[in-house]
Symmetry: none
Subunit: 212 residues, 2 copies
């Protein structure tokens, strides 16, 4: 048994269940696994707390309430019967260290436990790709654009700001008291300097700086 005596009992693998029993694959993966009700956590000191997310319930609430009652170094692992990216993200942002299918193979479960036990986070490929897609572009463009923003002249910066607000050339011309032709000259210069192809991408690049 992976149970040691301290001030309180330390349990290596605790499975939080709404109802029902431990699945056979969990026991297969961790013979020392024990089941516990949602309101029974925090009595012993758990190392890894596997939480089965009930269908159609908010993962944030459940995980949040559990997290408040357990030791700070207890790691939460969310188990989902029907995993999807949104739920996974919710679980991870609620403080879970991993998010996987309830019916994952014992080998997979052990791998997750390994990673999480060493302080890591475990995320499936699908969700990971999504995370990367959404924030890599954002962060990846940052150095590129940022490095180049300081080479802009004062006027170019003004025009860039206006474009980033969604203004048309005509509007920008009126704002700056110059002709539309001159605005075009500035935008052309901006595209060149910032390596973008049109005003839309310029706007996105400039705005990307604001966030992050």
């Amino acid at each position: 048994m992976g149970v040691r005596k301290l001030a309180v009992t330390v349990i290596e693998h605790s499975f939080v269940l709404q109802s029902g029993e431990l699945l056979s694959r969990w026991v297969e993966a961790f013979p020392s696994a024990v089941a516990v009700a949602a309101d029974g956590v925090g009595v012993s000191e758990e190392l890894l707390l596997w939480v089965r997310i009930p269908q159609g319930q908010s993962p944030e609430l459940l995980l949040g309430s559990i997290k408040r009652r357990v030791n700070v170094n207890t790691k939460l692992i969310a188990l989902s019967d029907t995993p999807n990216d949104d739920e996974g993200l919710a679980c991870l942002s609620a403080g879970a260290s991993a998010y996987i299918n309830t019916h994952a193979t014992p080998e997979a479960l052990r791998q997750v436990a390994e990673v999480v036990g060493q302080g890591g986070l475990w995320i499936g490929a699908s969700l990971m790709q999504r995370l990367l897609r959404s924030s890599v572009a954002l962060v990846a463009t940052q150095p590129t654009t940022k490095n180049k923003l300081h080479v802009l002249t004062g006027r170019e910066r003004e025009v860039a700001e206006a474009v980033a607000r969604g203004d048309s050339n005509k509007e920008i011309a009126k704002q700056l008291n110059i002709t539309e032709r001159t605005v075009k000259a500035h935008t052309a210069s901006l595209f060149e300097k910032l390596g973008v192809r049109d005003r839309l991408q310029l706007a996105l690049a400039v705005n990307a700086q604001r966030y992050l």
Copy 2:
């Protein structure tokens, strides 16, 4: 040896090095490991390609050029002597499946190989937290986004997303396998429904929902 004969030689663990030799911990982790020069990849068929990122060099370029020459199912793992989040992000967005310290323990290396070998991605806790911070907000606000965008049809939402990325009508048409004319129909409908006048303002509106 983890080497099998096929049409070409298949190597399980290949380490791409600028100069020098295999580190002892690499050999300890993978006795079958072989070293290869950056321009020597793709000759054999590698399964896992460990790439040591040279100091102060752009990971994107190196990984990009390597990725172009290897088999599609070859997994790249970036090794960094001085890991940091920015470099890690660069490596991952350049197509690496993992990013870890060059001098990680053999156990850690094997763990990474395990995860990546099963199609997963491996990211350290620090970088992961950063990714979560920047994109959790994003998806956490999704319900809000949906509130404003719930009047949109499925197709309209797809087009809106593409516009928000800065894609042109032609590009969107190709992506969705429809004519440019149909894209225009969708965008026109989007302008109307969301009360914006052109694609630039649509992009800003959609993106504004994401951050906040």
